[in-house]
């Protein structure tokens, strides 16, 4: 029995059915369907332009699909976008934030928007700042922070309110090995009672963090299994499996 199967008894957190998105002639996401449960750390992998970010953006209700449907935390992304966004924490690939703000002010703003107020918001900000090791830079302007700190701030804001679902688009991009390790440990620490979707290019990250892997190519899901299974199919190397499936080699 694999690791994923051991964590199956929990409820479905994300359900995607025949999701499709086109930009003019280009089909960005084509008939994508999958489910994710509590305890799942789903690695979303694929070549550049495969449709990973577009899928994640549809799940976070930033963009609407042309057809198909998705429920996140039991809420429909088309008809209940505000409820969906409340149920999830989302970190986008570029992590753009308001440069003129300080992390403290920014996190306070996110608390306000998420309805975390009164006596709850201060301890909540302290909690996520501690988890993300942001305490030393809380009163500096975001635009002066290093990429690593900006990534951590992205993660910190996604944890406010302790949402049950976290979607992280390339969370390791631009981080040094120490910072990567911190994020990996953080994800593992929280994994048991949450559902993670983590998009990545790096196969080692997939193997280290995820207990499930979805390979997407040209907008379609071409493999949905575990990193271990991908490794076995690639004769000990996930890279080999990735190249074979995405290049058709």
């Amino acid at each position: 029995m694999n690791h994923r199967a051991q964590l199956q008894p929990d409820k479905i957190m994300i359900s995607v059915t025949n999701l499709r998105k086109t930009y003019g002639e280009i089909v960005a996401v084509d008939d994508v369907s999958f489910e994710a449960k509590k305890g799942d750390i789903v690695g979303f992998i694929g070549p550049n332009g495969a449709g990973k970010t577009t899928t994640l953006r549809m799940l976070s209700c930033f963009i609407e699909p042309d057809s198909g449907s998705a429920t996140v935390g039991g809420f429909d992304t088309r008809t209940q976008p505000v409820e969906v966004r409340r149920a999830l924490g989302y970190v986008s690939e570029k992590c753009p934030f308001y440069g003129e703000m300080t992390p403290r002010w920014f996190l306070q703003f996110v608390c306000d928007v998420r309805g975390i107020n009164g006596s709850r918001y201060k301890p909540e900000i302290e909690r996520v700042a501690a988890i993300s090791s942001l305490q030393s830079v809380m009163d500096r302007r975001i635009e002066t922070l290093s990429k690593g700190f900006q990534r951590r701030l992205g993660l910190a804001q996604s944890l406010l309110g302790d949402p049950p679902i976290l979607i992280l688009d390339e969370p390791m991009s631009g981080l040094d090995p120490n910072q990567k390790q911190e994020i990996i440990e953080l994800i593992r620490f929280m994994a048991a009672d949450k559902c993670f979707i983590v998009s990545t290019h790096v196969m080692e990250e997939l193997e280290t963090i995820c207990n499930r892997a979805i390979l997407i190519s040209k907008g379609k899901i071409v493999a949905d299994s575990t990193p271990q299974d991908f490794k076995e199919k690639g004769q000990g190397k996930i890279d080999a499996f990735f190249r074979r499936v995405t290049n058709g080699a």
């Binding site: 976070s60 963009i63 440069g99 003129e100 703003f109 107020n117």
Partner: protein
């Protein structure tokens, strides 16, 4: 309402965390003061703010787009629109929060012109009701200018394009009742359209308010205009957010 308030607070505070907000305010106040003093303020020998209010429709054509140009253009250029719309925020809440923050910035600018009122009150006995309706009219006209400006800001990711576009649109809408425009249009468009355009002038509806006449039709004009432009801005933001 809590979400609108959250966005309003962030936007309003942002005006004063960069030098931009202060620069806009100082330039506005210097120009407003200068044009009032140079514009026969003392020669008229009347204790009122007519000259000050006379200059506002023109001054606002530059001041309001400067305050409103960044509202959506910056959000799209920096990519923060993706952050904003992956939070539990609706487009309407975001537009209303931003609009009210910029409108409050205008209130601050107008509040800083109070020394003019004090000066006039010291020199003579102005009619306080006329001054009050003048300020109310200025805030409503400014709100209408701002609604055009936030709409233009939603159309582009460049603050400069947003600024220039706003000046052009507001300039056109502010002076549709001027004799030069109406004479030029005479013969080109039917008379009923000329009359309609004359009635649509932003500054025309301010005219009676700055003279102390508070008319229902002026209030409804600005109310409908602001609400309509905000609704259109919501549609534009909703339809164009994917192209960030």
């Amino acid at each position: 309402m809590g979400t609108v308030w959250a966005i309003y607070k962030r936007e309003f505070r942002s005006f004063f965390t960069t030098s931009m907000g202060y620069v806009i305010l100082v330039v506005f106040l210097v120009l407003a003061g200068f044009l009032t003093i140079k514009g026969r303020f003392f020669e008229m020998r009347q204790a009122d703010l007519r000259v000050f209010f006379d200059n506002l429709p023109l001054l606002f054509i530059f001041f309001i787009p400067a305050a409103g140009m960044r509202l959506w253009a910056e959000e799209r250029k920096a990519g923060t629109i993706e952050f904003l719309f992956t939070q539990p925020v609706t487009v309407t809440q975001a537009v209303l929060g931003k609009f009210s923050a910029a409108w409050m910035f205008l209130v601050v600018a107008m509040a800083l012109t109070v020394p003019l009122v004090i000066t006039v009150s010291w020199l003579g006995s102005p009619d306080p009701f006329v001054i009050l309706t003048g300020y109310l009219g200025a805030l409503l006209m400014g709100g209408a200018y701002l609604a055009v400006s936030i709409f233009c800001s939603a159309l582009t990711r460049s603050q400069i394009v947003s600024f220039v576009l706003s000046i052009g649109m507001i300039g056109l809408l502010a002076y549709t009742d001027s004799p030069a425009v109406l004479t030029w249009l005479n013969g080109i468009v039917p008379p009923f359209m000329i009359e309609a355009m004359a009635n649509m002038s932003f500054s025309g509806h301010f005219e009676s308010m700055r003279r102390g006449v508070l008319e229902f039709r002026d209030l409804t004009f600005y109310g409908i205009l602001i609400a309509g432009l905000i609704a259109i801005t919501c549609l534009v933001v909703d339809n164009r957010r994917e192209s960030c």
